[in-house]
Symmetry: C2
Subunit: 199 residues, 2 copies
DNA sequence: ACTGCCATTGACTGACCAGTCAATCAGTGA
DNA sequence: TCACTGATTGACTGGTCAGTCAATGGCAGT
């Protein structure tokens, strides 16, 4: 089957793109950098992708759909709503732990670049906010969360906090150690659910 | 004095740059766009600024030093540490309310673009995190905040939440109304200090 | 051993734009 | 009036790259 090799090459280009985008940033990478990194001819990138943008699109869509699925699953898994939020935080932080380069690209070049690239994916990004907001709203309904906080606000604060911590690791503002990751998971849930003030 | 007019022209260029950057994004704006918007010849931009980058630098530095000063003042003003955090959130949100275009540029092109531009200003950005972290740490010392949360983590979560809400307004994920702004101030402090769960 | 189809190659082109620079203008002081 | 200085102008250059395309390679079915 010819397409077997083809699928591999396509993947090879995507993986190379992650590395190069993570290293140099999207704007600073030339298509030839991706081709070189993938060990492939320049033109082949255009055989598999319509444009440089489409390569990034593909990476984002692949990854983001996993996130949306994970949020959904966290919600469906039941348990306290606090534990569902914990599952979301865990998933995102583990995604970073597992593939920091990909997550760096997604966050730096898409999620936090809502001006250029994010614009295209705003719908999908918003969809994540809303799924998290639903967990909050349900938690309020169940009496587990206070009712006087707008769910979407809470959701965005929660997600913003997570992303900020990821950025901290990405740019070495805070050390990216395993204990740091685990602390962060606890902290995020503790802060958002219990607050900073002692009970 | 010749420099009077010169200062005006310089300002005129900076103000025009804010508008154009906000509208098109930094990468997509040509220097000629700035010159046109300012009603000034192309070359004059280079008379006042070494490069296109320096225009953005200037905008960031002007604004960020105000933020650092505001955090400092919030801290020095005394009162509960909770109220100091509230003052910080207030300042940032009011900055957006007062000059959304400038804040959009700062956040989208610098703060959240730590890859390209932010890299240069990472020190200053980190400085803000640390000033906020100091407020948290002092609050812990004073027994107002629980001691088992790393101050820098708390600070980054807090700041990340603020920035995420600003992004929401910037990109119309949440409506940018006055009540929305005021709600956000309350929410941020309530969430970070009291948590979502009822007491 | 031929034919057709897709993968693969990389040289080339066309557009774009940051930054340069030589020329002109305008205010000031003598 | 003249000379000096800094402000202002905009045409031009040099370099960079995204995307094109015509040519080649190689496999699969007959």
């Amino acid at each position: 089957m010819a397409s077997k090799a083809a699928v591999d090459k396509r993947r090879q280009i995507l993986d190379a793109a992650v590395r190069v985008f993570a290293r140099q940033g999207f704007h600073a990478t030339r298509v030839s950098d991706i081709a070189d990194e993938a060990g492939v001819a320049y033109g082949l990138v255009y055989h598999y992708f319509r444009s440089k943008d489409e390569v990034l699109n593909e990476l984002f869509i692949e990854r983001w759909s996993l996130l949306l699925a994970a949020i959904d699953e966290a919600d469906r898994a039941g348990g306290s709503h606090r534990s569902r939020l914990a599952a979301v935080a865990s998933f995102i932080i583990d995604s970073y732990r597992h593939d920091p380069e990909l997550m760096k690209v997604i966050i730096v070049e898409v999620t936090r670049a809502a001006n250029s690239f994010g614009q295209t994916h705003l719908e999908q990004i918003r969809s994540a906010y809303e799924s998290i907001a639903k967990i909050v709203a349900d938690g309020q309904e169940a009496g587990e969360f206070r009712a006087d906080v707008a769910p979407l606000f809470a959701s965005m604060s929660f997600y913003g906090a997570i992303e900020q911590l990821l950025s901290g690791w990405i740019f070495d503002v805070i050390p990216a150690t395993d204990t740091s990751f685990d602390n962060a998971k606890d902290l995020l849930v503790t802060t958002i659910c219990d607050g900073l003030e002692p009970r």
